[in-house]
Amino acid sequence: MNDITNFRLSKAANDVADRLVATGKFDHGTSAAKFAFAYAVKNFYGKFDPATYAVSDSNGSNYSVGSFDDLAPYVKVLYPDTDTPYIYVRALIVFGLIEIGKVIDAGGMPKIYLLCE
């Protein structure tokens, strides 16, 4: 299977990234996306399978995988069997953003450090 060279987020995930950036605490969507990736790994590693995750749509922003080069080694370590790390990166970002979106909807925009622990 061929890996991807650029990708789009889903609309819903993109909205959450925008909301995070709007707080002024993230300089760009990529920072918010990386954070969401980490959030997904921290909380859902082992419970969530990026290989089978179906991203609902591709109506969000477009990113070059180059923006996420520093995530690929993690995917390789965390999911050593994959040969399509960027598909995993996208899945984990989208999933992570959606999960953070649920937290925001339930109790308002939390402080970022609270999402880290």
Binding site: F26, Y74, V77, P80
Partner: protein, 664 residues
């Protein structure tokens, strides 16, 4: 005495639909509870609107009719609104309706011209020919401050204690008005006018008599002088009143300028404070952005650390087995050497056949726990070693401590900025009500100049008035002397004698009313002082304060037991003194009516609040008290008022534009 029996409000202010407050016919206190923003002040203003047709909000008259319509009603397409006030006065029932209806042909009103205002007054079921007169007789607007008042305005009464302030003068005028002094001053003026008319007749009669002819000419001349001076006096007095009004206006403007200057200063402080806070906020955000750029490594680290621990543990098990096997292999190789050479290198001795056989047997046994790793296990170990290295290289030194500090600081700061912006908005709103404020310094300078001119003019007018009065007095003396001469010279002339007699009666009448003014004022002062003292002593909790002393302006000072006047009194006592004065005025005024007070307890302690509540029925037969929850303790109020408490209502807010008046 005037009493309000009910008020019906329809689609007005926060009052949606038609709502009625029934005050009943009897004496006593009606309590209306309502928290801030629930329509208490609007209710007070509705009485004022019903009676005088003016709707006041704070100090300003509301000119925009559309602002008065209930918003919910508006949404439902109802733009008409009205107030019906039912009153009882001297056994007659008054029904006063004031309403604004949308002009025919207008579907949605957008400006004042789209409305028509109607006023209807029914007295005992009939429409009186002159409703304005009827209303002015039961409640003249110039004395309304003693009937309808906001607790906040009570401090104005302090001006009465000072000399010649414009506010003090205004209140003094209202006090004299409610006490009926103008009846006497007008009577004195009118009898003087009539006296003048009869003097003319007397002069005619004197002219017709040969003996008095010469005096008649002099009388005519003196009377003309007097008339001229009287006209001049009227002119000067009108000018004086106008100058006083102007002075009040300029003083008010000056105060507003001062207040506005303070507001602008506060606004500027707030703006720079907000700007400084926003700069700090931006700095914090920049630091947070730096922190969040890499915080993901820390977050992943939380998981990779766990994974690394698992890897290390598995690797350590495999490593241990591998090491044990290595040691075992080395031992086996040594034993094999002994078997092959029958010699032990370790102790440098030959080994006999029996021992070599035993060692051979041992070499043939299964390796058991000392066996080596399988090929897969070796692969696994290699894999784990690579993974461990990768995971270790990913470990992040950062944590969220710094992020936490910045975010917590930011959260506090954002609240502060929000609060400050809210205050700023309120300030800007207040400032915008003053209109154009671009050149405040020039406005203040102009105001000061105007005020100085005004003071000078007032002084001149005062002198002019005194000089004119002196001239009138001189003319009166001259006239009296001439009239005396006429009387003596014309004793046989019946017509002249009658004319003289009429003048004498008119002069006596005029003198009687003139003397009456001073006597009535003295009597009023004594009685107001006595009644205010009685009320004050009922309310005050300080037994060392034994009396109130009145001055020429009806200002009241507190007298200590020792006889000394208390020089500085607290805001709370100013309040009590003002209420005592109002109560005393009601007792002594020819015009009496209900007292409607909005939040009169603000500055007072619980004891004084209780005492005032207790004294309310002494102030007027009908009291309508608007209070916010906890302004006075409800249980205490009910207890001290006892059966003088007629009814309790609560203004309950069901939405921004819907307050319901509910009977408790």
């Amino acid at each position: 005495m005037l009493k309000f029996t009910s008020m019906t409000i329809n689609n007005f202010g926060p009052y949606e639909g038609e709502q009625t407050i029934d005050f009943g016919d009897g004496d006593g206190v009606t309590l209306i509870w309502g928290d801030n923003g629930h329509g208490k002040t609007t209710l007070l203003n509705l009485f004022r609107y019903a009676l005088f047709g003016r709707f006041q909000y704070r100090h300003e008259t509301v000119d925009d009719i559309l602002k008065l319509v209930n918003r919910e009603g508006m949404k439902a397409g109802k733009y008409d609104f009205k107030v019906l006030l039912k009153m009882l006065h001297d056994g007659k029932r008054y029904e006063l309706t004031r309403q604004y209806s949308v002009r025919p042909g207008v579907s949605v009103p957008t400006r004042n011209d789209d409305y028509v205002q109607d006023v209807f007054l029914k007295v005992d079921g009939h429409f009186p020919p002159n409703k304005e007169h009827e209303l002015a007789m039961i409640m003249p607007e110039e004395v309304s401050r003693f009937f309808l008042f906001d607790g906040e305005l009570l401090q104005e009464y302090e001006e009465l204690v000072k000399d010649e302030t414009s506010v003090g003068d205004k209140i003094k005028k209202s006090i004299e008005s409610i006490l009926g002094v103008p009846i006497l001053t007008n009577a004195a003026g009118d009898t003087n006018f009539v006296l003048g008319e009869y003097r003319k007749e007397q002069t005619k009669a004197a002219q017709a008599n040969k003996q008095t002819e010469k005096y008649a000419a002099q009388i005519e001349s003196e009377a003309a002088k007097k008339e001229e001076q009287t006209k001049e006096l009227e002119r000067l007095q009108t000018a004086y009143d106008e100058a006083q009004d102007l002075r009040a206006k300029f003083e008010d403007e000056g105060k507003q300028n001062e207040h506005l200057r303070e507001l602008i200063q506060n606004m500027e402080h707030l703006e720079s404070d907000i700007a400084a806070k926003e700069a700090t906020r931006d700095g914090l955000l920049q630091s947070i952005v730096v922190a969040t750029r890499d915080v993901w490594r820390y977050v992943i680290g939380k998981r990779t650390t766990e994974i690394l621990a698992d890897v290390k543990s598995e690797l350590s098990t495999l490593q241990e087995r591998h090491n044990t096997h290595e040691s075992a292999t080395r031992l086996m190789s040594y034993i094999q050497h002994i078997v092959d050479t029958h010699h032990c290198e370790c102790c440098n001795q030959d080994v006999d056949e029996a021992h070599v056989s035993a060692l051979k047997k041992r070499l043939d046994e299964e390796p058991g726990e000392f066996g080596g790793l399988s090929v897969e296990e070796k692969e696994r170990m290699k894999h784990l070693q690579i993974r461990q290295a990768s995971l270790e290289s990913m470990s992040s030194a950062s944590d969220t401590q710094v992020l936490k500090i910045y975010e917590d600081q930011l959260a506090d700061l954002l609240v502060q900025i929000d609060d400050a912006k809210g205050q700023l908005k309120d300030l800007r709103d207040e400032i915008s009500r003053y209109g154009n404020v671009s050149d405040l310094t020039a406005a203040a300078k102009e105001n000061a100049q105007n005020l100085a001119k005004c003071y000078a003019k007032i002084e001149n007018l005062k002198e002019g008035i005194q000089a004119t009065k002196d001239k009138i007095k001189e003319a009166d003396i001259a006239l009296a002397s001439l009239e005396e001469k006429v009387r003596k010279a014309g004793t046989s002339d019946a017509d002249l004698n009658l004319a003289v007699k009429k003048v004498e009666i008119c002069a006596a009448l005029h003198q009687l009313f003139t003397d009456g003014i001073a006597a009535y004022r003295d009597k009023l002062k004594t009685e107001v002082e006595r009644d205010a003292t009685e009320l004050f002593c009922n309310i005050s909790s300080d037994s060392d304060y034994t009396a109130l002393k009145i001055n020429d302006n009806y200002g009241l000072s507190i007298q200590h037991r020792s006889g000394e006047i208390i020089p500085f009194r607290s805001a709370g006592f100013e309040h009590i003194v003002a209420l005592s004065l109002i109560g005393a005025l009601h007792k002594n005024a020819p015009l009496s009516g209900p007292i409607i007070m909005d939040s009169p307890f603000g500055r007072l302690d619980p004891t004084h609040k209780k005492n005032i509540t207790k004294a309310l029925p002494l102030m007027s037969d009908q009291i309508i008290l608007l209070a916010y929850t906890d302004e006075i303790d409800a249980q205490t109020a009910r207890q001290v008022l006892g059966n003088t408490l007629k009814k309790e209502y609560r203004l309950r807010k069901y939405g921004s534009f819907h307050t319901a008046i509910e009977l408790q």
